[in-house]
Symmetry: C2
Subunit: 324 residues, 2 copies
């Protein structure tokens, strides 16, 4: 059995908690959180600790799964936990991955641990599929489409517009763009040609809806580059119809293996629960981190560096017999 | 530069030859073949050797790519070449992979080489996707669909029916079955529910076409378990419309991350040239074999055992910056 700790008990932490019983060789040993009393009330049969607390000697932890946010939690908690345990995280600020990798590599190496960073579906599985596509089809064109699904960052941005009580932003890939790539075309798309956005908004009573619509649709970086539809709904409709976090997307690679011999590779995921699936991937990555550590490795890894068999509960012999 | 040898100059060997110039760090050093004179006439600027010949000292070979058939060529040539070089092959007799792995592992280990076996798209990439799907979604249902594409084994079987001069067998996945899985259903399909076959046949003049149709459609193992359509065409139409080897397929994994939270993963490839794409994958695998060898590893590997970054021409830093 591999002993896991959950660090940070939000949506992804709950996803990890839900995933663990489905992985027969994994058990939860502890939860670390900023709010031990709150979490203890909810998860009464699991030892709960403050982030900086050292659990008593009878609590054995092989891998700590960092489930906090990438903006403030993981950059601080990553190095903090990589000193004590092997770690897995889903750090997803793409531009800062090289820098975070270096820091985690140094810390984990110094303390003899393994740290798998930026795991999940994107970054993570999608990164893997982008690299495989480019390696198997050199000089190809690669495309990543996201959605249909809820974008947390865009929901947060819309929620900050004056007069907005609550907001949920959905990303949709443009079907015709995917169709064109699937049919062998390799266009250079603008942002608007690949994705559109729909934002459901609960407005304050008496708020200027037209002003809200304009403020969201024209917000630079987040919405201005896309066709964005703003739909006003009631608080009740928000609670009833937009309480879950579905997501998904596509990685497409289109190239030629010889003159006019096209090859098109496509990876797609459809996820009813983004944090639920991320949690399940993180648990499989914890298995890989544990095995890497047991085989004497140390330092930081991304999913690009991990032999895929290490994610599987099955033995190499079973995989060769039943999955090849 | 990594120095490659092609072993066996058939369709896959030609695919490897076409792929090499697209991989900037790869060069062809030699071709090994049973028919050196024939190959020399076609590939005049490349040193050509008999299978058992030892090239002169000025010819440096890092990885030998075995491109022969899985029935007779690779089982014999694999151990023969793994004594001399690191190797890559596309051995695809699924039931015999465990046994072939053991033999290649022993030979490669003894001689300090790396042997990546059973690479390509299936076995190979599809194996990888089956394992990842099962690891990320435990207790899920996995489905592999093949086609649309030409099945060599089924074409050969149809060609042996008396009265048949030439035959080409196409496999088609059943669209409704794929649709059901994509929509979240997890049925247990019969073979007939997953695939159908269409066989184009050139019959000898005066042959009994009804007898040929019956002999093909009712052939056990190959066609009897599927809805099989037999279409008679002229020799000329066969040459004009069925000279290429397209193929492709789907790997689908459908599971739950929590009660009624479904997650569906899908990998798909569409290949205008099956041997062309296989060749390109084998070249990327040769890069991985070379790097594994350089890092001190030895023995047999499948694509399940290879860290994906090793297939890529890009450095780990570039991959973390541009592909994560």
């Amino acid at each position: 059995m591999v002993n896991l700790a959950i660090v940070g008990y939000g949506n992804v932490g709950r996803g990890v908690l839900a995933a663990i019983p489905r992985h027969p060789d994994m058990r939860l040993a502890a939860i670390f959180t900023r709010r031990p009393e709150v979490v203890r009330a909810e998860a009464s049969d699991i030892p709960v600790f403050r982030l900086d607390e050292d659990p008593p000697g009878n609590i054995n932890i092989d891998v700590a799964i960092l489930c906090g946010g990438s903006k403030e939690d993981v950059p601080m908690q990553g190095p903090m936990f990589a000193r004590r345990y092997s770690t897995v995280d889903s750090f997803d600020t793409h531009a800062r991955i090289p820098e975070y990798f270096r820091e985690m590599d140094e810390t984990a190496r110094r303390h003899g641990n393994v740290a798998i960073i930026s795991a999940g579906w994107d970054p993570g599985i999608f990164s893997l599929e982008r690299v495989l596509g480019n390696a198997f089809l050199p000089r190809s064109a690669g495309y990543t489409f996201w959605g249909p699904g809820v974008s947390q960052g865009h929901s947060d941005a819309a929620r900050k517009v004056p007069g907005v009580l609550d907001a949920r932003s959905y990303t949709y890939p443009i079907d015709d763009a995917i169709k064109a790539v699937r049919e062998g075309k390799t266009p250079s798309f603008s942002r608007r040609q690949m994705h559109r956005r729909v934002v459901y908004v609960v407005a304050r009573d008496g708020a200027d809806k037209e002003a809200i619509r304009k403020a969201i649709a024209e917000m630079p970086h987040y919405f201005a580059d896309y066709d964005t539809e703003v739909i006003f709904i009631s608080r009740r409709e928000m609670a009833e119809k937009h309480a879950t976090y579905p997501h998904g997307g596509f990685v497409l690679t289109s190239g030629e293996t010889a003159k006019s011999e096209r090859a098109i590779l496509e990876y797609r995921c459809q996820l009813a629960s983004n944090p639920g699936f991320t949690g399940s991937v993180l648990v499989a990555c914890a298995r890989a981190a544990y095995r890497l550590r047991c085989s004497g490795q140390k330092g930081a890894f991304t999913m690009l560096d991990v032999p895929p068999a290490l994610y599987s509960p099955h033995s190499p012999e079973t995989l060769r017999r039943d999955y090849m």
